[in-house]
Structure formats: structure tokens, C-alpha cells
Symmetry: D2
Subunit: 334 residues, 4 copies
Amino acid sequence: MINIGIIGYGYWGPKLVRNFHALENTNVKIVVDIDKKKLETLREIYPSVEISTEVNSILNDPEIDGVVIATPISQHYELAKKALLHEKNVLIEKPITDSAEKAEDLINIAKKKDRILMVDHTFVYSASVNKIKQLIATNEIGDIQYFDSTRINLGLFQHDINVIWDLAPHDISILLYLIKEKPYSVICTGISHIQNKLENIAYITLYYQSNFMAHFTSSWTSPVKIRKILIGGTNKMIVYNDLEVTEKVKVYNSGYEVILKEDLNKILVDYRIGDIHIPRIEQKEPLRNMAEDFINTIRNKVKPISDCESGLEVVSILEAASKSLKNRGKEIKL
Amino acid sequence: MINIGIIGYGYWGPKLVRNFHALENTNVKIVVDIDKKKLETLREIYPSVEISTEVNSILNDPEIDGVVIATPISQHYELAKKALLHEKNVLIEKPITDSAEKAEDLINIAKKKDRILMVDHTFVYSASVNKIKQLIATNEIGDIQYFDSTRINLGLFQHDINVIWDLAPHDISILLYLIKEKPYSVICTGISHIQNKLENIAYITLYYQSNFMAHFTSSWTSPVKIRKILIGGTNKMIVYNDLEVTEKVKVYNSGYEVILKEDLNKILVDYRIGDIHIPRIEQKEPLRNMAEDFINTIRNKVKPISDCESGLEVVSILEAASKSLKNRGKEIKL
Amino acid sequence: MINIGIIGYGYWGPKLVRNFHALENTNVKIVVDIDKKKLETLREIYPSVEISTEVNSILNDPEIDGVVIATPISQHYELAKKALLHEKNVLIEKPITDSAEKAEDLINIAKKKDRILMVDHTFVYSASVNKIKQLIATNEIGDIQYFDSTRINLGLFQHDINVIWDLAPHDISILLYLIKEKPYSVICTGISHIQNKLENIAYITLYYQSNFMAHFTSSWTSPVKIRKILIGGTNKMIVYNDLEVTEKVKVYNSGYEVILKEDLNKILVDYRIGDIHIPRIEQKEPLRNMAEDFINTIRNKVKPISDCESGLEVVSILEAASKSLKNRGKEIKL
Amino acid sequence: MINIGIIGYGYWGPKLVRNFHALENTNVKIVVDIDKKKLETLREIYPSVEISTEVNSILNDPEIDGVVIATPISQHYELAKKALLHEKNVLIEKPITDSAEKAEDLINIAKKKDRILMVDHTFVYSASVNKIKQLIATNEIGDIQYFDSTRINLGLFQHDINVIWDLAPHDISILLYLIKEKPYSVICTGISHIQNKLENIAYITLYYQSNFMAHFTSSWTSPVKIRKILIGGTNKMIVYNDLEVTEKVKVYNSGYEVILKEDLNKILVDYRIGDIHIPRIEQKEPLRNMAEDFINTIRNKVKPISDCESGLEVVSILEAASKSLKNRGKEIKL
């Protein structure tokens, strides 16, 4: 039996409790939050789970094997550090920290303490993203030429972070999971319509040394909800629409070939519009897989899929993007 | 009767012939193209229209009142200049020229010769865009906060211009038509997957002095066709999807209000998801309205809706965007 | 505190437990099922709920105020009868019974025993259906001319009832809730692709004395899931698509007017395609409202919205439709 | 050169002129209509085509090889008979006549005169329908179990025929083209909201001797336009949505298998939700193919794809359906 303590019972907390609770040989032992009301809601559904407003209830409990941190991001670092120093394995909601420096520090502590440090990049555990990864691995898509993600909707302005720290971690973690090459530089433009100057719309471009490019659109102020990623390859192209129920991943056998003539002014482009294939995607909840990975990681002392290094990479990109954003789209090398 | 001569019978030519042909008291007198085969196709449908491979057939014909230039963009300037110097009124397909300098030169010649110089920014004549203009004018939308356009699909790589000169003129001309404020600077990122280095994917950000921002996504290499503009206002938000048949313009009574607390860290955001209204939009072909405007302009010596100054503005932005694109997203002041 | 006992923990059971559990001053005291495994799943989530494989655990418990029957339909009558005779208030999942005669019998027993007998016609409690009811009540739609419902998808063949007993109760109960006039006769066609002769596709027509008509398409063997109801009025028309997230109810200001000429051969029809309005619909779970209604009904001795008389009406129509279906679409008077 | 004369220049006339005009070695020689205004519109676009208000201009012209009849259906029989008796080959817009008896008479005359008699069932010439035919022929779909077509929209009430004579010929001709077995009986329900008693909504069921069934929904009074056919097979299922631009035909690798237990009450149904495949469909206009077939038929004395026998079959079903409709859904044997 692996015992889990969860810190934070806000938006993600209930989902985490439900998913860890459902795993075999796993026990959600304690949930901590400063809001007693929320804890009472929890108690009604799961009377067997201990509740507390003190983080130490988790840290000082020798039976707790894993600590899950689902608090506002500004508290990630301090809480994770404490938990690691208490010899706990740690899972942090994305993004891992609010700076690359802090992420590096946590990674070092985790190494010294020989404990697991993992970040919840949920989409990396989704069947859709893994189907895409497989399509890329088997070269069905060909060389990948671009990655273009739109994640917009109305709502849930965060009070301590701008829109890219809130929404883009999903897309960046998917990108890093799918594409081996590391980005070379980042450009980010955007705007804040709020007095606190936190941007609610932002556009990130990632430049690469190769012929590949990535772009992310993030917004809290769109009247419509869009969760769409386009991936273009030399053989096929993919549209991943996470809002679709049965057609999340569509593979287009479409493309073009450039036919070289004597000189570059006489390039001929040959288009190909082909069949579309929509693979059946298993409907398992990604968060369930993520929870399983954390438990498996603790039990078998193996590396998690969404490891702390990918957490650091995401934060490094977000940090550079924020710097670019504050400097009206200045290119920041990574 | 107004007599029209059309130069260029490629992609737009047949549409122009059809639309001018349908107007009352308007005569498509001559069509010129270097490709005899294309002209023969024309003759089969419209035996009464003269055909020629010589531009002079139009320029030297004293009966021709208006010349329509629908050639590759690199020829716009020379042809328009000649036509104006031959005392003709001139309509040019978008974009008006391939540089701001040339556009300015044409404007000056047109003034001296007292002839109409007009550019075909077709969307400015669409019922959808005019419905949006009206919604903005009556303040139903409130203060406009952002404009975000996506115009992507597979195909039709141009050989002499990159994707922003091909696709973005549509979006920029719509933006300029709707929003009075002029942009302050432009940032453009993108990539070319073709040997001739012409970019096939590009992202443009327009910064403004005020609280407004515009962004354009242009691509020739998307497996799916998207023609979507989001416009956010303080009261309502608009989604303009040009591919929809009966629901092109959707008005969302959605938004948010920021409630100021004592300090900025305690901002409260209040969301509002409201009704959606889809106004009935007349289905008249925009190109028909554009053709009518040109004829009306010639006949009544009035200013066209899509005038040469807006043509110049579009080209100035494209030029700056191209410069930014070549310099990896460097901010270019306008 | 109202104490509830639930019989049957199959497909609906867990939803019922969750919704009754969430109500204030309501206690899900006992859940009965013959399948011990299912009950153990329940116990894991709600350790406080008693579980039993014996119906008598509920019937003989004097603290139980309301009994919810969520078993296969063939057991509805016997169980409900027993519960009523044990002086319990009774809620039965739709359809109330497998024959009109049995439904009448239950209604009589409930009257004698002065207990509530209610059927769960869930959609009658949905915000969408109630928005439509309101649009009709305020005469915004005009005189209603037709009701056309399609409820199809792949799956969940029932073993003891055909597709109309499974799917059509939803649509028929919505129809009866919206339209006061009673149907005059029914015609039902369909087919069974299964050896047990239970039809998996069926089409029901309801004829009325007036100028109104209703039609239902029910299928377990469609590759796509459709949940769509069209309602035509003399002023406006409604499309209710239950699979839409934010656009469930669309109101079309479209219609036609018939202009009488001297004789009937010279009828002129004038079409009107107008604006579309999509009212904001509250997203509360209908089953929650239904559960609330049952509790409120018990507590305040009032009539439920989805009362036993509507349960009888639905079953009478299903019975007639089945008779028609067995006789290749013979018209059956109601 | 094949010379064509077209009678009727209303809704279909212009499409027919355009398509026949575009064919090689084909000449649209004369177009007849009683409405001079319409003919003048024609003359503006095609000055080379002769126009006339007299049918005899076509019938008496010895150069005319083929006569196309695109008039209201009530005139089909008389005009076609005259044309055949004048030794012309004849193409009639669907439906071929307004009664089976008249269709049989025309077929006999055509045989005697050894002339082509063809009906324009346009969809039989569409790439989508032919792709489906091929999927059935190669047994990819398995045994076909049902055909369910919905063809509804707002508008274009016909003054002389009800909705099934207007819309259902499309669907019935597609069905007959795809499925070899002949229907056994027909049941049709519906309603008229117009004083002339012509039904504007109707539902047709076709019963077969085998395990197959077809259903058609036809309406002139739907706020939304739907053109959707579901075809279920034992292996795969097809959704043909004619309003889709790039995804007209979707093939679902979905289905179910019935596992026999000892007795029929213990049937087990095993569902399969699989991949979806969307074949690339050529975008050629079906009417072009139809026109080509008529010309080819005249030139090479071969049987057309959409022959007069299929025209008769469609009319026989329509006639029986109308009879059923007038008798409140009485089953009519075919």
C-alpha cells in the first residue's frame, strides 16, 4: 500500500483525490487545505480520508510515501523542498515552479535525497498525445515541419501568473514530449487588459536550428473554447482537437511536394489532398495514467514519464517567453 | 455605359468578368492575357468580349473608362502607372503594389491625372464585415480589445511572394476597415519550408498605443481550411467564421468585469457567459459590391470604399512585417 | 432528514446515489442490488451507505421514506407495488412499467395508500427543455406545427425490451411536457437485426386531431450519436441538440407565410430566413433537479413535475406503438 | 456534334445549359421557355444559343438529337411523348413522370421508336454515391442492414406536388442504385400545413422481404438544412453527409456482434467502436457526369446509367407512398 498526502484541494485537488483513490494498493491518507469548508466537502464524499489545515500533518507522517502539491504555483517550491527534505517523493502540478532556478534547486535536492520529483504534465499521459507520438515514431507523418497550438477560452484569470504560465505548459509539455530537438529561441507577444498587468492573451513562437517551428496561442478572453493542435509533416498532417469526443486525432494524408526546376524562381509545388484517417482512441482519463505513473515510480524506483527535467524545460521556456513578452517580442535565446 | 478592360485572366480574372458583366450599364469590353488558351475559354462563354494578348489594346482604346489589373503583384505598379498615364481609372487586385513607395507613387500620379485609383480589398465589401462594422459603430461590442485572425489552408503557394503578401491583405484590410486607430509597430515570425525561402507560415502581431492588439496567422500548409476572426470587446465578443454558410457572424454576450479591490493583488474577475445572437446576413457576393463601387466611383466621381490610401496602408504593414520576418521577429515601428 | 433506499445499482444507480447524496437533508440510507461486486464498488466511494442484496432491507426499514427503483423494467411493477404497500413513496426509472394496465394499477394503489408515485422522466427537468417550454408558453414560437426527434447511437441493446421502450420514453415525455394536445393515433415501423426479434431501429409517427404531428427516430445501431429535436412553429423554429455544450437550444426566426390567391392552385409561399438566437442555458444536471423534486414531493406532499399520470401516458403510447410495430405500421388509435 | 434542345429554363435549366455547354462536341442549340424574361437572361450569357417560347422550335428542328425536359413534372409526360414521337432522344428531370402508368407508356414508345429515354437522377452520378457503391461491392461494409436518409430544409414549396415527389426521388434513386433487392411494401406518414393539402413533411418506410429496411425523412419546413444518409452494414457503417465539403463519406469501422447463448433471452451483444476512414472524393459536379452520360448514350447507342426503368421504379414507389400517405400510413404492397 502506497500512502499519499495531497496539499491543496482547490480546482485540481478533487480530481487528484478521485484518481488516486481509484488506484489499487493506493491510499489517499491525508488532504491538507487552508479552507476548512472545502475539506468538509471532501469529508462528505470520502469519510475515510484524514483532513487537516496543517501541511505538517503530511510532512511529519512517516507513513506518507508520496506528497502531491496542488497549490498556487508560488507555493510549489517551498512545499516541494520541505517534502523532499522530509524524505517524501513529490509530485507537483504543472508548472513545476515559477522559475528555472527553483526547479533546478528542487532537482538537486531530489537527487541528494534520492527521492522521486515528478511534475504533472497531464497531456503527456493522454491516449491522443501518445497516439500522435506513435504516428511520429513510425515515421508515418514524415519529418515534422511545424507545431501550432491554440488553447483559448473565456475565463479563469489567474491572479498571480499570466496566461502563458497558466495555459502554455500543457502545449509546451506536449511539444517537448513529441519533438526531440530543443528550441533555439523564443519570441512572445501579448497584451494585458487587466490593471495588474498580467497578460490575458499571448502568442509564443519557438525558433529551432532546423527547419521546424512551433507557435502557441493562449487566451483567457475568447468567447469560444478551442483546444487544437496542428502538426505538419512531410508525409501527413495531424489535427488534434481535444474537444472532439470521438474524433480527437485526425490524420490527413495531405501534403505537397516541391519540384525543383533549373532555378529557384521556377519552383513547382504539387499538392496532394488525400484520405483522412481517424484512429480509435482509448477514452481512459489521462490523470488516472498520471497517478498510476507516480505510484509505479514510487513502488518500483523507476523514472516517471513526466520527470522533473521536463518540468525544468517547460519552466525555462516560460521564463524566456515572459522575458520576451515584457520586452515587446524581443528574441530570447534559450 | 461604362467600358471596362481587364488585364489578367488567371484566378481572379474570370470572377471579375462575371461580376462586371452582370452590372447594368457596364460593358466588359476587352480582356487581355498572355495566355491565349485562357482567352479562348473566355470567348466560349462571352463571345461578345474582345480578347487580346497586348496590354495596349486596352490602354489605347479611348472608349475604355476603367482598367482592372488582375496580374501577378510584381506587374501591378508598371501596369497601373501606364493606365493612369493613359487617363484611365484603375482598379488593382490586392495588394495594391509590392512596396509602399510604389503605392505612394501611384497615388500621386492618380491625383495629378485626376483619375480613380482603387484596390480590391474584397472583404471590405462583404455583408459580414459590414455587419460587424455596424455592431462596433453602435457600440454594441463596447471598446474593442483584440482582433485575432486565422487564415490557413493547404495550397496555392505563390512563386513570387510569401504567405503574408498573399493571405494577410484580406485580414489587414478588414482590420483597418473596422478599427480607426493605427498600429504602432509590427512583429512577424514565420518559416519557409521551400527552397526559395518564401515563408509559407507566418504570425503577425500588431501593437497599438492603446489597449488594443491584433494578431494574424497565415499558412499555406494547414491540412484544414480555417477562416476565422475573433474580435473581443468590453461588452460583447464576435466570432466571424467565413466558412459557415448561415452562421458567419456570431455575437457572444459574454465577457468579464474586473472588480478593483484595495490593491492590485486582490483583483476579482467576474465572468459573464450570455446569449449568442446570429444576425441574418445577406448572401450577396462581395465581389459584386466591389465591382459596383468601381463603376459608381467612375460614374459619379466619388471616393471608393476601398481607396488607394487603404491600399497603401496595407502594403506599409506588409512591408514592415516582411522586414520583421527577415529579422526573426524584430519589432518594426510603423 | 429524508431517508432514501435505492433498488438497482446498474447504469442509473450510481448516478442516482451521487445526486441524492448531494442533496441537503437527504440521506441515501440503503442500496440494494443482487450483484455483490457492484455493491462493493459503491461501498468504496460511499462507506456510509448500507448495502444489501435483499429488497426487504429497504421495504422493512421504517426509516425509509422514499424508494427509488432502478432495475430492469420487467421488475418495476412488482417492486413498486410492494414498496407502495409498505407505505413508501416511490420513484421509478422511466418507463414506469411495461404495460399501461400495470401503470394504472400502481396509480390506484398509490392513491389508496396516499403515497407519492413518480417516474423519472429526466429530460423534463433539464434547463433546455424548460427553456423551450417557456418559449412556447410566451407564444414566441407561435402555433406548434411539428415535433421531430432523433435519438440514435451505437449500443446498449437491451435484452428484454426493444429500442422504443428504451429510447423513446425520453422523447415522448418531452413531447407530452411541451404540448397539451393528446395524440390521436400512432404508427410505428421498424426492424430487428437480432435473433430475439427485439427491434433495434424504429420510427414512430403520432397523429393528432389538429394540424400538429410528431415523429421519433430511435436506433441502437447508428455509427454516430444524434440527440436532436426540431420543433416548428408558425413564428419561429427550434433546434434542440442535446450533444452541444454551449448551443443546446437554437431559436430560428425563420418561417414562411402562405398567401392565399383566388384559388388553391395559386398559393404563394413567402419564406423568411431570419436571425438565430441561442439563449444561455444553465448547466445544472437534470437528474439533480429530478432528485430534488422527489425529495420536495415527499417533504411537502405536493405533486411532482413528472407524475405517475405522465408515466402512464408514455407507456400507453409505447404500448400502442409496439402493437403497430408488430403489425407492420398499422394505425393504432390511442 | 450532338445538338441539344432544352425545354424549361427555371431552376434546373441554367445548370443544364451550363453543363451541356461545357461538354466537347456538344451544342446547346435551342432553349425553350414560356417566360421571355428568363430567356433574355440566358441570351446575355450565351448569345449563341437560340431561344424560343415554342416547344415546336425544338421538336421540328431535324438537327436536334436530344431533348432535355426541365419543366414542372405535370408536363413531363406530354412533352416527352411528343419528343419521342418526333424521333428525339429524351432526358427528363426527376421524377420521370407523375404516375407509373405514364412512365410505362413512355418506356414503350421509346422502345418502339428506338430512342433513348433517360431520367436525371443526379446523385447516381455523384462521386460520393459511387464511392459508397464501391465500398458495398467490395463487401467492405458487409451485408447491408438499413438505409436511413434525411433531406430537409426550409423552402421551395412546390405548388403541384407534395414534398415526397420533390425531395424523395433523390434518396430513392440512390437507394435503388446501391441495393439490388426490391422493396416489398411502403408506409408513408406526413402532414400538410398548407391549404392545398400538399404534404410538406413526410416519412417513408420501405419494408423488404429480407433483413433490410429503408426510411426517408423529407421536409420543406425545417429551420436547418440536412442532407444525411446512414447506411449500416454487418462490418462497417457509412455516414454520407452531402453538405460536408471534404468529409462527405465517412466509413465507421464500428458495429456489433451478437453472441448466441443457450436461449434467446441470454443474447450477448458485443460492440465495436473502431477507426473512421474518410476517403478522398473527387469534386466533379454530378450534373456534368449526367450530361456526359446522355451525350454518350446518344452517340454510342448504349444504355444510360440512370435509365428509364429506374425512373419507373422511383415513380412506382412514390405513387405507392402517396397512396399510403393519403390513407394515414396504410401499408401498400409494391
